[in-house]
């Protein structure tokens, strides 16, 4: 309780705000750390060929409380899929994720369309939003048995019948899903995909984005081969973003790298404070 040298906590709070906000305001970035698990996911997306009738199933199962980590991951992966012209089908089992299903892809598309004038990403053909469904757990279980996903899901988030959308005009099944990616901080929702997203003879490649707290759980699945790639918190998203920028040099650095920089600086702040506290402790003990 008593210590000779104690910074006022308000000064520490001010440092925290500066450390986190400064990169956001000044667009200051540092090179993110290399993440092998993120590289694996990048390779999986790179090796997925855009084939007519095939698409990627992307689940956003995060709310505002983990959006700082999960939304960054979702952004880079969806962007990568769109750049590679792999149709993206978005879905969530989590009510609070619903707004992201619209805002994230629309932002990415407007960025891509300004970057590449003339190119278009059309709703229904290049991406579809299935929205949130109550009782989605049962829906997930029925995907593997479905003969036609358009009949399983019936309508998209805007109540348009799926069979009216170009992507679902022909019957689609689980084997039309070339890649499954899911982003969440909720372990239970992740488990349901691991368990049910497969048939006897086919399992799509599975990429997962977890929060920093659930990394140990996620690694169990990566080690067992049930996951083909993993984004570990915002750091994973940042390295993925860097890989994207290497591949597409015209691309502007995105928020993932900015946030990652801020979080890194704040960590260093704490480590620095700990060192400072210990040194001053040693000095004061010697003096007394």
């Amino acid at each position: 309780m008593k210590s000779s040298f104690n910074l006022d906590r308000r000064i520490i709070y001010a440092f925290v705000v500066i450390a986190l906000a400064w990169p956001l305001i000044n667009k200051y970035t540092v090179r993110p750390a290399r993440m092998k698990s993120a590289e694996k996911l990048f390779e999986v997306v790179e090796s997925t060929k855009p084939t007519p009738g095939q698409f990627a199933f992307v689940a956003f199962d995060f709310g505002p409380s983990t959006a700082a980590e999960n939304a960054g991951q979702a952004r880079v992966v969806v962007e990568h899929l769109m750049r590679r012209r792999i149709p993206v089908v978005l879905f969530t089992q989590y009510l609070l994720a619903d707004p992201f299903l619209k805002s994230i892809p629309e932002k990415i598309i407007s960025n891509l369309e300004t970057e590449m004038p003339g190119q278009k990403w059309i709703y229904g053909k290049d991406w579809v939003n299935l929205g949130y469904r109550p009782g989605a757990g049962i829906l997930i279980q029925s995907i593997s048995k479905s003969k036609n996903l358009a009949e399983t899901f019936l309508v998209d988030a805007y109540s348009t019948p799926l069979k009216d959308l170009p992507l679902f005009r022909r019957p689609t099944q689980l084997k039309n899903i070339s890649l499954l990616t899911q982003f969440t901080g909720l372990v239970g929702l992740f488990d349901s995909y691991v368990q049910f997203f497969q048939t006897a003879d086919y399992r799509p490649n599975f990429g997962h984005g977890c929060t920093s707290i659930t990394i140990p759980e996620a690694y169990i699945y990566l080690d067992s081969g049930q996951l083909q790639g993993l984004l570990e918190g915002i750091a994973g998203a940042a390295w993925y973003s860097k890989l994207l920028s290497d591949k597409y040099p015209v691309r502007k650095p995105d928020e993932a790298i900015l946030i990652n920089t801020g979080l890194g600086i704040a960590h260093l702040l704490l480590i620095g404070l700990i060192i400072l506290g210990n040194i001053s402790g040693i000095i004061s003990r010697r003096n007394s």
Binding site: N6, Y13, A33, S159, A235, I271
Partner: protein, 374 residues
């Protein structure tokens, strides 16, 4: 008949367990207690007994013991138990009214905040109830059409199963037709109030369904038509629900509720949660001072894990992320588990003591417990 060898000793064990319990506990149970205390302890025991037996007994007793399923009404009983607890909900409300109401009445310090509290409580109750009622109303309108579809199905099944009804099937058909015409007209009228931004699918759905229902009703409407009518009515009910939902989302009820919920409740919660970002840094700074082996180890582990999760680790060692993961997966997981094992056993023991009311400091007793608390 013989019993499977494995479970004879087990039945005996349960009997011994319960027997010892009862024999050793009974005299204590009544000793020195008045009727009120015995009643309280008795009810405590009975409430626990159901869940205890539900767990201990097999899902279905063997046929020779009657094949009884003890847990047959588990859902209903559990719901009853939850109901008991849920009746306490107003205690919280009473407390808030008491504490803050008296502050306002006697105009004590903080009375203005108490007014803010009670008025936001009141407002939120009003708007949440409104939201609930509006939601029920939306459902209700669709429900009426759905009921009609059920009616159509029932007429069909009653005739097929030769069930006699008060009204003849023909009379029922007339009623069905009357109501169907009314509901279709009502829905059409409602549709005409909708603006351009109503999703096409809802508008088209209602128009198609109405057209087809009218066709079925106006053409030679007889018993055989029911099979066609039922699904159309069901679909119309679904579309009607979406239409009402569209109006509801535009209503000021919904918007004011959303304002309170998304403008205050959610951000206040997120902001409180985010305070942890500040506090974890200041707590770390204050606490991680090397004073002993323990605090040193804790500090080192924390620093290593932190270094392993930020981009700057490359300046120190490439192995840091792996060390971080190892620390979390091996020693941390093991220590957590050990703590949980101990706590689980202590919790079980506590549960038994509380179930049987066997400690004199339990809240059943009202006299000073023995032994000296210094």
């Amino acid at each position: 008949m013989m019993l499977s060898i494995t479970w004879i000793p087990i039945v005996a064990l349960i009997a011994i367990l319960l027997g010892t319990l009862l024999v050793t506990m009974l005299p204590r149970f009544f000793a020195g207690r008045n009727y009120k205390q015995i009643l309280i302890a008795g009810i405590t025991f009975l409430a626990g007994l159901y869940y205890f037996l539900d767990f201990v007994l097999p899902p279905k007793l063997p046929e020779m013991l009657g094949g009884y399923e003890f847990s047959k009404y588990h859902r209903e009983i559990s719901q009853g138990v939850i109901t008991v607890g849920s009746m306490a909900f107003a205690l919280g409300l009473f407390n808030l009214l008491y504490v803050h109401g008296s502050k306002i009445i006697f105009w004590k310090k903080g009375a203005i905040n108490s007014i803010a509290l009670l008025s936001s409580l009141f407002l939120m109750m009003v708007f949440t109830s409104n939201e609930w009622l509006a939601f029920e109303e939306v459902n209700d309108k669709a429900e009426r059409i759905r009921t009609l579809a059920e009616f159509s199905r029932k007429i069909e099944s009653d005739v097929n199963n030769n069930i006699a009804t008060e009204k003849t099937p023909d009379e029922r058909m007339v009623l069905l037709k009357e109501h169907a015409v009314i509901f279709v007209g009502e829905t059409q009228l409602r549709l005409s109030e909708a603006k351009e931004d109503l999703p096409r699918i809802i508008r088209d759905g209602i128009n198609n369904q109405s057209k087809e229902i009218n066709k079925i009703l106006n053409a030679n409407f007889k018993f055989r038509s029911l099979g066609l009518l039922t699904p159309k009515l069901m679909k119309l009910a679904g579309d009607r629900q979406q239409l009402e939902d569209y109006f509801y989302k535009k209503s000021s009820t919904k918007k004011l509720y959303d304002y309170l919920y998304e403008g205050l409740f959610v951000p206040l919660g997120s902001a409180m949660f985010a305070l942890l970002g500040f506090y974890i840094i200041s707590a770390g700074y204050r606490a991680f001072r090397v004073r002993s082996v323990e605090s040193g180890l804790m500090m080192i582990a924390a620093v290593v894990v932190m270094l392993g999760q930020i981009p700057f680790y490359i300046y120190i060692s490439d192995a840091l992320p792996d060390i971080r993961l190892w620390l979390l997966e091996i020693p941390s997981a093991a220590a957590f588990r050990a703590i949980k094992f101990g706590a689980a056993i202590a919790g079980l023991y506590m549960a038994i003591r509380m179930w049987l009311s066997i400690e004199s400091s339990s809240f059943v007793e009202t006299k000073k417990p023995g032994g000296g608390a210094k």
